[in-house]
Symmetry: C2
Subunit: 284 residues, 2 copies
């Protein structure tokens, strides 16, 4: 997905939020905004948002001298999500269609803002998503493709959300490779976060090699690209991965909630909608 002009104020907003989490020093935070402001004119609308976001988060880290400001927030969100795991798991087990319920669970994980706001009511969010209609639901295709796939590549998104992904992985009943970010970026899951969520018990965790909040292929490592290029079934979680991969031709399934109007417009849905969208050369 290309970058839209609407993304520009949002880049500044995200930089401000990250800088505030990284430091209390108002002068440094002001400097972050000043420097991001100066970067705007060099942004090409042909880049994907995670490519721009990557530069922005590097700048935030550089100025605030903090490589992983979300560390504690990530740990806390994983802890919270894990405490709900037994309830979520039993919901899936008692449902009529465990796979579809697990897909909804995985989207719930994407819904929750594990960032600055930890005061969310996880149970209410789960309840809401479990009863919400999909705006796009390529579930029949998902099931069909999955039945033919020997293994699955699952591209993760945020920490905490991994716990919800784990529930879906357990329903997939096939070997899964779970790809995480190479180093910390915002609240995205790294290897450490995925292990804390217990993903190592159900999948092989690899680094995608990227340091952006989305799997930008030209920044991914060889190991990831080898699996990506040969995978017959790829799950892409969240907005950042959608932004990075929406124009790619592999057999991808995007699972997300459209949290901003730019993504919603791009997908042809409404802001707030939940989506299971299949895309790729095998889907025609």
């Amino acid at each position: 997905m290309k970058t839209y002009l609407d993304c520009f104020p949002c880049f500044l907003e995200q930089a401000l939020r990250a800088a505030r989490i990284a430091t209390d020093d108002e002068n440094r935070i002001k400097r972050v905004l000043d420097e991001i402001g100066m970067m705007l004119r060099d942004i090409s609308l042909e880049s994907t948002p995670p490519e721009i976001g990557r530069l922005i988060y590097h700048k935030v880290s550089e100025i605030t001298e903090s490589a992983d400001p979300y560390r504690e927030i990530k740990k806390e969100s994983t802890r919270k999500a894990l405490s709900l795991y037994p309830v979520l798991k039993s919901e899936v087990e008692k449902s009529r269609d465990g796979l579809l319920t697990a897909i909804r669970m995985a989207i719930t994980g994407n819904v929750i803002d594990f960032g600055p706001n930890l005061g969310f009511d996880l149970k209410d969010d789960v309840e809401e998503i479990l009863n919400k209609d999909f705006a796009i639901c390529d579930y029949e295709l998902f099931k069909h493709m999955l039945s033919e796939a020997r293994e699955v590549l699952y591209i993760g998104d945020n920490a905490g959300e991994c716990v919800f992904d784990r529930i879906l992985i357990e329903q997939i009943k096939r070997p899964v490779v779970y790809a995480v970010r190479d180093i910390p970026v915002i609240n995205d899951a790294t290897y450490e976060d995925a292990v804390e969520a217990g993903i190592d018990k159900v999948a092989t965790i690899i680094s995608s090699g990227t340091d952006a909040a989305g799997a930008i292929l030209k920044r991914c490592n060889e190991e990831f690209m080898e699996i990506y290029n040969n995978s017959a079934f790829i799950i892409s979680k969240g907005q950042g991965n959608y932004e990075a991969l929406s124009n790619e031709k592999r057999p991808l399934f995007f699972l997300l909630k459209a949290k901003c109007h730019v993504i919603a417009d791009n997908m042809g849905v409404q802001e707030g909608d939940i989506v299971l969208k299949g895309k790729g050369r095998k889907f025609s």
Copy 2:
């Protein structure tokens, strides 16, 4: 009120909105964002937001070559508000406390976003505000001060909103001087807009002399300052005027809905709250 770091992304958002209304040329709109981005580092947090906004809207006008992009939107919002005038007026007349109801009406006028979104349901908004509790309500002081004032200075805000101000002016039952912006800025009311709303039938309209979306005193003209400095009762409508005047010492009453968390925090209320707040050296 000083400028907060939270205002920075909002400046970019407002510039984008204004540029989109002024032109369809994406390259020009991109240039607006680029140049506003470059301006951020020169922003002093000691300036009030309308002072920064003034520079930003000048830049938007310059790049889009449009001095009054909101002209049609302003006309349409005045037309819509006028169509409701008889209903609003009869609501005030049949209420137990006509002055308080008229104050609520005036705040309703401030609530409605007369900007890009003209699809609002004015009647629902009126109904909501008429039944909403004030977060700050210095009404007793308002009545007392008004009873002692021979005339009133009323500093207007947006076009369309003027129609609602007219209803309050009619309840004030004293000579009113109604101050408008000197030239078009966003959807703020100018002389022409105030006349279209019928303010000329109930008050003397003057220009404050400012070209900003708030009465920045150092940019106001002599006529306005003469009245301002000698007035025993001043009504300041909306956020822009609050931002410009919140630190001043004159006997001011601020009527507004707190539409953003920065203003809400500054006033010690919640976002979405409605406020009638008295301030000034006579109020201790």
